[in-house]
Symmetry: C2
Subunit: 233 residues, 2 copies
Protein backbone atom coordinates (compact mmCIF):
# COMPACT_ATOMS: atom_id res chain seq x y z
CA UNK A 1 0.00 0.00 0.00
CA UNK A 2 1.05 3.60 -0.50
CA UNK A 3 1.53 5.80 2.53
CA UNK A 4 -0.93 8.30 1.10
CA UNK A 5 -4.41 7.30 0.20
CA UNK A 6 -5.75 10.63 -1.01
CA UNK A 7 -4.50 12.04 -4.30
CA UNK A 8 -4.35 15.78 -5.09
CA UNK A 9 -6.73 16.92 -7.79
CA UNK A 10 -4.29 17.78 -10.59
CA UNK A 11 -2.67 14.34 -10.55
CA UNK A 12 -5.87 12.42 -11.22
CA UNK A 13 -6.13 10.84 -14.62
CA UNK A 14 -8.22 7.70 -14.42
CA UNK A 15 -11.93 8.45 -14.35
CA UNK A 16 -13.84 5.43 -13.26
CA UNK A 17 -17.57 5.67 -12.50
CA UNK A 18 -19.08 4.17 -9.36
CA UNK A 19 -21.47 1.24 -9.49
CA UNK A 20 -24.30 3.72 -9.77
CA UNK A 21 -22.59 5.50 -12.63
CA UNK A 22 -21.34 8.64 -10.92
CA UNK A 23 -18.01 10.21 -11.89
CA UNK A 24 -16.49 11.49 -8.66
CA UNK A 25 -14.28 14.54 -8.23
CA UNK A 26 -13.12 16.85 -5.45
CA UNK A 27 -15.58 19.48 -6.63
CA UNK A 28 -18.54 17.10 -6.74
CA UNK A 29 -17.80 15.83 -3.24
CA UNK A 30 -17.45 19.34 -1.79
CA UNK A 31 -20.65 20.48 -3.48
CA UNK A 32 -22.53 17.41 -2.31
CA UNK A 33 -21.28 17.96 1.25
CA UNK A 34 -22.48 21.57 1.17
CA UNK A 35 -25.83 20.43 -0.20
CA UNK A 36 -26.20 17.81 2.52
CA UNK A 37 -25.53 20.39 5.22
CA UNK A 38 -27.95 22.84 3.68
CA UNK A 39 -30.76 20.38 3.10
CA UNK A 40 -30.69 18.16 6.16
CA UNK A 41 -28.81 20.10 8.81
CA UNK A 42 -25.31 19.96 10.15
CA UNK A 43 -25.65 16.49 11.65
CA UNK A 44 -26.40 15.07 8.21
CA UNK A 45 -22.77 15.39 7.17
CA UNK A 46 -21.26 11.98 7.88
CA UNK A 47 -18.98 10.06 5.58
CA UNK A 48 -21.55 7.31 5.31
CA UNK A 49 -24.38 9.62 4.35
CA UNK A 50 -22.08 11.50 2.00
CA UNK A 51 -21.24 8.24 0.28
CA UNK A 52 -24.92 7.40 -0.05
CA UNK A 53 -25.71 10.85 -1.45
CA UNK A 54 -22.88 10.47 -3.96
CA UNK A 55 -23.92 6.98 -5.00
CA UNK A 56 -20.60 5.54 -3.86
CA UNK A 57 -19.13 3.54 -1.03
CA UNK A 58 -18.26 5.74 1.97
CA UNK A 59 -14.66 4.65 1.91
CA UNK A 60 -14.28 6.07 -1.58
CA UNK A 61 -14.29 9.57 -0.09
CA UNK A 62 -10.92 8.74 1.45
CA UNK A 63 -9.46 8.43 -2.04
CA UNK A 64 -10.06 12.17 -2.38
CA UNK A 65 -9.62 13.52 1.17
CA UNK A 66 -7.33 12.37 3.95
CA UNK A 67 -10.06 12.67 6.60
CA UNK A 68 -13.36 14.37 7.28
CA UNK A 69 -11.39 17.29 8.69
CA UNK A 70 -9.53 17.60 5.40
CA UNK A 71 -12.85 17.55 3.58
CA UNK A 72 -14.35 20.21 5.85
CA UNK A 73 -11.35 22.48 5.31
CA UNK A 74 -11.92 22.20 1.59
CA UNK A 75 -15.56 23.08 2.15
CA UNK A 76 -14.50 26.05 4.30
CA UNK A 77 -12.15 27.33 1.60
CA UNK A 78 -15.01 27.22 -0.84
CA UNK A 79 -17.10 29.29 1.60
CA UNK A 80 -14.53 32.09 1.82
CA UNK A 81 -14.57 32.37 -1.93
CA UNK A 82 -18.35 32.59 -2.06
CA UNK A 83 -18.45 35.31 0.61
CA UNK A 84 -16.22 37.61 -1.40
CA UNK A 85 -17.59 36.79 -4.80
CA UNK A 86 -18.63 39.93 -6.63
CA UNK A 87 -17.76 42.47 -3.94
CA UNK A 88 -16.56 45.90 -5.09
CA UNK A 89 -15.44 48.95 -3.09
CA UNK A 90 -17.79 51.94 -3.34
CA UNK A 91 -15.56 54.60 -1.75
CA UNK A 92 -17.84 54.99 1.28
CA UNK A 93 -15.77 53.34 3.99
CA UNK A 94 -18.67 52.72 6.36
CA UNK A 95 -20.82 51.16 3.68
CA UNK A 96 -17.88 49.08 2.45
CA UNK A 97 -16.99 47.71 5.88
CA UNK A 98 -20.65 47.03 6.63
CA UNK A 99 -21.03 45.13 3.38
CA UNK A 100 -17.90 43.05 3.96
CA UNK A 101 -18.96 42.20 7.51
CA UNK A 102 -22.46 41.21 6.55
CA UNK A 103 -21.18 39.14 3.64
CA UNK A 104 -18.82 37.18 5.86
CA UNK A 105 -21.57 36.65 8.38
CA UNK A 106 -24.09 35.55 5.78
CA UNK A 107 -21.70 33.17 4.04
CA UNK A 108 -20.88 31.43 7.30
CA UNK A 109 -24.51 31.31 8.37
CA UNK A 110 -25.37 29.55 5.14
CA UNK A 111 -23.08 26.65 6.07
CA UNK A 112 -22.83 26.55 9.85
CA UNK A 113 -21.03 23.24 10.23
CA UNK A 114 -18.18 24.31 7.98
CA UNK A 115 -18.16 27.76 9.58
CA UNK A 116 -17.52 26.27 13.01
CA UNK A 117 -14.35 24.65 11.75
CA UNK A 118 -13.19 27.51 9.59
CA UNK A 119 -13.83 30.60 11.69
CA UNK A 120 -10.78 30.32 13.91
CA UNK A 121 -8.11 29.31 11.44
CA UNK A 122 -5.71 31.49 9.54
CA UNK A 123 -5.22 29.97 6.12
CA UNK A 124 -3.10 32.57 4.37
CA UNK A 125 -4.59 31.47 1.08
CA UNK A 126 -5.68 33.58 -1.82
CA UNK A 127 -9.23 34.42 -0.76
CA UNK A 128 -8.23 35.29 2.79
CA UNK A 129 -5.34 37.46 1.67
CA UNK A 130 -7.63 39.31 -0.72
CA UNK A 131 -10.07 40.04 2.12
CA UNK A 132 -7.31 41.37 4.38
CA UNK A 133 -6.04 43.63 1.62
CA UNK A 134 -9.55 44.90 0.88
CA UNK A 135 -10.38 45.75 4.51
CA UNK A 136 -7.04 47.43 5.16
CA UNK A 137 -7.47 49.39 1.95
CA UNK A 138 -10.89 50.66 2.98
CA UNK A 139 -9.57 51.81 6.37
CA UNK A 140 -6.42 53.47 5.06
CA UNK A 141 -8.23 55.25 2.24
CA UNK A 142 -10.77 56.48 4.82
CA UNK A 143 -7.93 58.34 6.50
CA UNK A 144 -7.07 56.19 9.50
CA UNK A 145 -3.35 56.31 10.33
CA UNK A 146 -1.68 52.92 9.92
CA UNK A 147 -1.51 51.86 13.61
CA UNK A 148 -5.17 52.74 14.08
CA UNK A 149 -6.16 51.06 10.81
CA UNK A 150 -4.48 47.86 11.93
CA UNK A 151 -6.16 47.87 15.35
CA UNK A 152 -9.58 48.52 13.85
CA UNK A 153 -8.96 45.88 11.21
CA UNK A 154 -8.13 43.38 13.94
CA UNK A 155 -11.22 44.23 16.00
CA UNK A 156 -13.44 44.22 12.92
CA UNK A 157 -12.26 40.89 11.56
CA UNK A 158 -12.25 39.03 14.86
CA UNK A 159 -15.61 40.44 15.85
CA UNK A 160 -17.09 39.36 12.53
CA UNK A 161 -15.59 35.89 12.78
CA UNK A 162 -16.56 35.59 16.43
CA UNK A 163 -20.19 36.46 15.79
CA UNK A 164 -20.20 34.30 12.66
CA UNK A 165 -18.99 31.30 14.65
CA UNK A 166 -21.37 32.02 17.51
CA UNK A 167 -24.40 32.32 15.27
CA UNK A 168 -23.29 29.42 13.11
CA UNK A 169 -22.97 27.28 16.21
CA UNK A 170 -26.58 27.99 17.09
CA UNK A 171 -27.65 26.90 13.62
CA UNK A 172 -25.40 23.85 13.71
CA UNK A 173 -26.98 22.50 16.87
CA UNK A 174 -29.15 19.42 16.63
CA UNK A 175 -32.78 20.47 16.34
CA UNK A 176 -33.60 19.42 19.89
CA UNK A 177 -30.78 21.44 21.45
CA UNK A 178 -31.57 24.49 19.33
CA UNK A 179 -35.18 24.38 20.43
CA UNK A 180 -34.10 24.09 24.06
CA UNK A 181 -31.86 27.14 23.73
CA UNK A 182 -34.74 29.20 22.39
CA UNK A 183 -37.09 27.97 25.06
CA UNK A 184 -34.71 29.15 27.77
CA UNK A 185 -35.61 32.76 27.11
CA UNK A 186 -39.30 32.16 27.25
CA UNK A 187 -39.61 29.42 29.82
CA UNK A 188 -36.76 30.12 32.18
CA UNK A 189 -35.95 33.81 32.07
CA UNK A 190 -39.46 35.06 31.49
CA UNK A 191 -40.59 33.37 34.69
CA UNK A 192 -37.91 34.68 37.03
CA UNK A 193 -39.52 36.60 39.83
CA UNK A 194 -39.31 40.38 39.89
CA UNK A 195 -38.09 40.13 43.47
CA UNK A 196 -34.91 38.18 42.77
CA UNK A 197 -34.30 39.27 39.16
CA UNK A 198 -35.92 42.67 38.69
CA UNK A 199 -33.97 43.68 35.59
CA UNK A 200 -34.72 40.45 33.75
CA UNK A 201 -38.36 40.66 34.77
CA UNK A 202 -38.63 44.26 33.56
CA UNK A 203 -37.17 43.49 30.13
CA UNK A 204 -38.31 39.90 29.62
CA UNK A 205 -40.61 40.78 26.72
CA UNK A 206 -37.82 42.71 24.98
CA UNK A 207 -35.28 39.95 25.62
CA UNK A 208 -37.39 37.17 24.15
CA UNK A 209 -37.76 39.04 20.86
CA UNK A 210 -34.24 40.47 20.67
CA UNK A 211 -32.42 37.23 21.46
CA UNK A 212 -34.08 35.50 18.53
CA UNK A 213 -32.09 37.64 16.13
CA UNK A 214 -28.34 37.80 15.68
CA UNK A 215 -26.66 40.54 17.67
CA UNK A 216 -24.13 41.05 14.90
CA UNK A 217 -25.73 43.82 12.80
CA UNK A 218 -26.13 46.07 15.86
CA UNK A 219 -22.67 45.22 17.21
CA UNK A 220 -21.23 46.00 13.78
CA UNK A 221 -22.98 49.36 13.80
CA UNK A 222 -21.53 50.12 17.23
CA UNK A 223 -18.05 49.30 15.97
CA UNK A 224 -18.49 51.53 12.93
CA UNK A 225 -19.77 54.36 15.14
CA UNK A 226 -16.79 54.08 17.47
CA UNK A 227 -14.39 53.94 14.54
CA UNK A 228 -15.96 57.01 12.94
CA UNK A 229 -15.53 58.92 16.20
CA UNK A 230 -11.81 58.15 16.05
CA UNK A 231 -11.36 59.24 12.46
CA UNK A 232 -9.06 62.31 12.26
CA UNK A 233 -10.79 65.37 10.84
Amino acid sequence: MSSERAVPAPQRRRRRPTKQGVLLSHELIVDTALRLIGQHGAEALTVRRLGAALGADPSTVYRYFRSTDDLLLAVADELIGRAQHGWRATGDWRADLRAIGLRIHAAYQAHPQAALLAAHRTTGREHETAAVEAILGVLRRAGFPDPEAVRIYHAFVDQSLGFAALDAAALALPAAAAHADLQVWQASYARRGADTHPHIAATAHLLTTDMRRSGYPFALELLLDAAAARLPA
Copy 2:
Protein backbone atom coordinates in the same frame (compact mmCIF):
# COMPACT_ATOMS: atom_id res chain seq x y z
CA MET B 1 -39.20 2.28 34.29
CA SER B 2 -39.68 5.97 34.93
CA SER B 3 -39.85 8.29 31.96
CA GLU B 4 -37.00 10.30 33.43
CA ARG B 5 -33.72 8.67 34.19
CA ALA B 6 -31.81 11.66 35.53
CA VAL B 7 -32.68 13.03 38.95
CA PRO B 8 -32.20 16.70 39.96
CA ALA B 9 -29.60 17.31 42.62
CA PRO B 10 -31.78 18.33 45.59
CA GLN B 11 -33.91 15.19 45.42
CA ARG B 12 -31.03 12.78 45.88
CA ARG B 13 -30.91 11.07 49.24
CA ARG B 14 -29.36 7.66 48.93
CA ARG B 15 -25.62 7.87 48.56
CA ARG B 16 -24.25 4.63 47.28
CA PRO B 17 -20.57 4.38 46.36
CA THR B 18 -19.45 2.86 43.07
CA LYS B 19 -17.57 -0.42 42.97
CA GLN B 20 -14.37 1.57 43.25
CA GLY B 21 -15.69 3.41 46.28
CA VAL B 22 -16.44 6.82 44.78
CA LEU B 23 -19.43 8.84 45.97
CA LEU B 24 -20.83 10.52 42.87
CA SER B 25 -22.52 13.89 42.65
CA HIS B 26 -23.39 16.48 40.02
CA GLU B 27 -20.51 18.63 41.23
CA LEU B 28 -17.95 15.81 41.12
CA ILE B 29 -18.99 14.86 37.59
CA VAL B 30 -18.80 18.44 36.31
CA ASP B 31 -15.40 19.00 37.95
CA THR B 32 -14.09 15.75 36.54
CA ALA B 33 -15.36 16.68 33.09
CA LEU B 34 -13.60 20.06 33.29
CA ARG B 35 -10.42 18.33 34.41
CA LEU B 36 -10.62 15.80 31.57
CA ILE B 37 -11.10 18.54 28.99
CA GLY B 38 -8.27 20.61 30.44
CA GLN B 39 -5.82 17.77 30.61
CA HIS B 40 -6.50 15.89 27.41
CA GLY B 41 -8.41 18.22 25.13
CA ALA B 42 -12.04 18.60 24.15
CA GLU B 43 -12.09 15.26 22.36
CA ALA B 44 -11.25 13.54 25.64
CA LEU B 45 -14.74 14.26 26.95
CA THR B 46 -16.68 11.08 26.19
CA VAL B 47 -19.12 9.40 28.52
CA ARG B 48 -17.00 6.27 28.58
CA ARG B 49 -13.79 8.09 29.48
CA LEU B 50 -15.66 10.20 32.00
CA GLY B 51 -16.95 7.04 33.61
CA ALA B 52 -13.45 5.62 33.75
CA ALA B 53 -12.07 8.83 35.28
CA LEU B 54 -14.84 8.77 37.87
CA GLY B 55 -14.35 5.11 38.70
CA ALA B 56 -17.88 4.25 37.64
CA ASP B 57 -19.74 2.64 34.79
CA PRO B 58 -20.34 5.07 31.90
CA SER B 59 -24.08 4.58 32.07
CA THR B 60 -24.12 5.91 35.64
CA VAL B 61 -23.58 9.40 34.25
CA TYR B 62 -27.09 9.19 32.80
CA ARG B 63 -28.49 8.94 36.31
CA TYR B 64 -27.23 12.49 36.84
CA PHE B 65 -27.56 14.05 33.39
CA ARG B 66 -30.11 13.38 30.69
CA SER B 67 -27.48 13.35 27.96
CA THR B 68 -23.97 14.55 27.19
CA ASP B 69 -25.52 17.78 26.01
CA ASP B 70 -27.14 18.23 29.40
CA LEU B 71 -23.76 17.65 31.01
CA LEU B 72 -22.12 20.12 28.66
CA LEU B 73 -24.60 22.80 29.68
CA ALA B 74 -23.74 22.18 33.31
CA VAL B 75 -20.04 22.58 32.46
CA ALA B 76 -20.79 25.82 30.63
CA ASP B 77 -22.73 27.21 33.57
CA GLU B 78 -19.90 26.32 35.92
CA LEU B 79 -17.51 28.34 33.74
CA ILE B 80 -19.84 31.35 33.84
CA GLY B 81 -20.04 31.02 37.61
CA ARG B 82 -16.26 31.02 37.95
CA ALA B 83 -16.07 34.14 35.78
CA GLN B 84 -18.54 36.00 37.99
CA HIS B 85 -17.14 34.78 41.30
CA GLY B 86 -16.42 37.71 43.59
CA TRP B 87 -17.55 40.43 41.21
CA ARG B 88 -19.24 43.50 42.71
CA ALA B 89 -20.79 46.51 40.99
CA THR B 90 -18.91 49.78 41.54
CA GLY B 91 -21.53 52.17 40.17
CA ASP B 92 -19.35 53.18 37.21
CA TRP B 93 -21.14 51.46 34.34
CA ARG B 94 -18.18 51.54 31.94
CA ALA B 95 -15.81 50.12 34.53
CA ASP B 96 -18.38 47.50 35.51
CA LEU B 97 -19.05 46.31 31.96
CA ARG B 98 -15.35 46.31 31.20
CA ALA B 99 -14.66 44.19 34.27
CA ILE B 100 -17.43 41.71 33.45
CA GLY B 101 -16.27 41.37 29.86
CA LEU B 102 -12.64 40.83 30.76
CA ARG B 103 -13.64 38.34 33.47
CA ILE B 104 -15.68 36.27 31.02
CA HIS B 105 -12.84 36.38 28.53
CA ALA B 106 -10.29 35.36 31.14
CA ALA B 107 -12.40 32.53 32.57
CA TYR B 108 -12.88 30.99 29.14
CA GLN B 109 -9.20 31.43 28.28
CA ALA B 110 -8.37 29.47 31.44
CA HIS B 111 -10.25 26.46 30.01
CA PRO B 112 -9.91 26.82 26.26
CA GLN B 113 -11.10 23.34 25.39
CA ALA B 114 -14.22 23.67 27.49
CA ALA B 115 -14.82 27.19 26.21
CA LEU B 116 -14.93 25.90 22.65
CA LEU B 117 -17.73 23.54 23.57
CA ALA B 118 -19.61 25.83 25.91
CA ALA B 119 -19.32 29.39 24.60
CA HIS B 120 -22.26 29.21 22.25
CA ARG B 121 -24.89 27.60 24.44
CA THR B 122 -27.65 29.24 26.42
CA THR B 123 -27.88 27.34 29.68
CA GLY B 124 -30.65 29.20 31.50
CA ARG B 125 -29.13 28.02 34.76
CA GLU B 126 -28.24 29.75 37.95
CA HIS B 127 -24.90 31.31 37.08
CA GLU B 128 -25.92 32.43 33.63
CA THR B 129 -29.10 33.99 34.94
CA ALA B 130 -27.11 35.87 37.58
CA ALA B 131 -24.76 37.23 34.92
CA VAL B 132 -27.64 38.37 32.70
CA GLU B 133 -29.26 40.11 35.67
CA ALA B 134 -25.98 41.82 36.59
CA ILE B 135 -25.28 43.15 33.08
CA LEU B 136 -28.84 44.35 32.54
CA GLY B 137 -28.71 46.05 35.92
CA VAL B 138 -25.54 47.94 35.06
CA LEU B 139 -27.02 49.18 31.79
CA ARG B 140 -30.40 50.19 33.21
CA ARG B 141 -28.88 51.96 36.19
CA ALA B 142 -26.58 53.80 33.78
CA GLY B 143 -29.68 55.35 32.25
CA PHE B 144 -30.20 53.38 29.03
CA PRO B 145 -33.87 52.98 28.16
CA ASP B 146 -34.99 49.35 28.22
CA PRO B 147 -35.00 48.63 24.47
CA GLU B 148 -31.51 50.13 24.13
CA ALA B 149 -30.28 48.31 27.24
CA VAL B 150 -31.42 45.00 25.80
CA ARG B 151 -29.78 45.63 22.42
CA ILE B 152 -26.50 46.67 24.03
CA TYR B 153 -26.68 43.71 26.40
CA HIS B 154 -27.08 41.39 23.43
CA ALA B 155 -24.18 42.92 21.51
CA PHE B 156 -21.97 42.99 24.61
CA VAL B 157 -22.59 39.39 25.62
CA ASP B 158 -22.25 37.91 22.17
CA GLN B 159 -19.15 39.98 21.48
CA SER B 160 -17.56 38.71 24.68
CA LEU B 161 -18.51 35.09 24.02
CA GLY B 162 -17.51 35.32 20.37
CA PHE B 163 -14.05 36.65 21.16
CA ALA B 164 -13.72 34.21 24.05
CA ALA B 165 -14.42 31.28 21.74
CA LEU B 166 -12.18 32.66 19.01
CA ASP B 167 -9.24 33.22 21.33
CA ALA B 168 -9.87 29.95 23.14
CA ALA B 169 -9.74 28.15 19.81
CA ALA B 170 -6.29 29.59 19.15
CA LEU B 171 -5.09 28.38 22.53
CA ALA B 172 -6.70 24.99 22.06
CA LEU B 173 -4.94 24.30 18.77
CA PRO B 174 -2.21 21.68 18.75
CA ALA B 175 1.18 23.35 19.09
CA ALA B 176 2.11 22.66 15.49
CA ALA B 177 -1.07 24.17 14.08
CA ALA B 178 -0.82 27.21 16.35
CA HIS B 179 2.71 27.83 15.20
CA ALA B 180 1.63 27.52 11.59
CA ASP B 181 -1.16 30.05 12.12
CA LEU B 182 1.30 32.54 13.59
CA GLN B 183 3.79 31.97 10.82
CA VAL B 184 1.18 32.92 8.24
CA TRP B 185 1.47 36.56 9.23
CA GLN B 186 5.22 36.64 8.94
CA ALA B 187 5.87 34.17 6.17
CA SER B 188 2.87 34.57 3.93
CA TYR B 189 1.47 38.06 4.42
CA ALA B 190 4.76 39.83 5.08
CA ARG B 191 6.09 38.60 1.75
CA ARG B 192 3.21 39.75 -0.42
CA GLY B 193 4.51 42.16 -2.96
CA ALA B 194 3.75 45.87 -2.61
CA ASP B 195 2.53 45.81 -6.20
CA THR B 196 -0.32 43.34 -5.69
CA HIS B 197 -1.02 43.93 -1.97
CA PRO B 198 0.10 47.48 -1.18
CA HIS B 199 -1.93 47.86 2.03
CA ILE B 200 -0.67 44.61 3.55
CA ALA B 201 2.88 45.50 2.55
CA ALA B 202 2.62 48.96 4.10
CA THR B 203 1.34 47.65 7.45
CA ALA B 204 3.03 44.25 7.61
CA HIS B 205 5.22 45.21 10.56
CA LEU B 206 2.21 46.51 12.49
CA LEU B 207 0.11 43.46 11.60
CA THR B 208 2.64 40.90 12.79
CA THR B 209 2.80 42.46 16.25
CA ASP B 210 -0.88 43.34 16.61
CA MET B 211 -2.22 39.95 15.53
CA ARG B 212 -0.27 38.23 18.30
CA ARG B 213 -2.53 39.78 20.91
CA SER B 214 -6.25 39.31 21.38
CA GLY B 215 -8.36 41.92 19.65
CA TYR B 216 -10.95 41.76 22.42
CA PRO B 217 -9.80 44.55 24.78
CA PHE B 218 -9.78 47.09 21.95
CA ALA B 219 -13.05 45.84 20.48
CA LEU B 220 -14.63 46.03 23.93
CA GLU B 221 -13.42 49.62 24.27
CA LEU B 222 -14.98 50.48 20.92
CA LEU B 223 -18.29 48.98 22.03
CA LEU B 224 -18.20 50.95 25.30
CA ASP B 225 -17.38 54.15 23.37
CA ALA B 226 -20.30 53.63 21.02
CA ALA B 227 -22.64 52.82 23.89
CA ALA B 228 -21.56 55.94 25.80
CA ALA B 229 -22.31 58.07 22.74
CA ARG B 230 -25.85 56.69 22.75
CA LEU B 231 -26.46 57.34 26.43
CA PRO B 232 -29.21 59.98 26.90
CA ALA B 233 -27.97 63.13 28.63
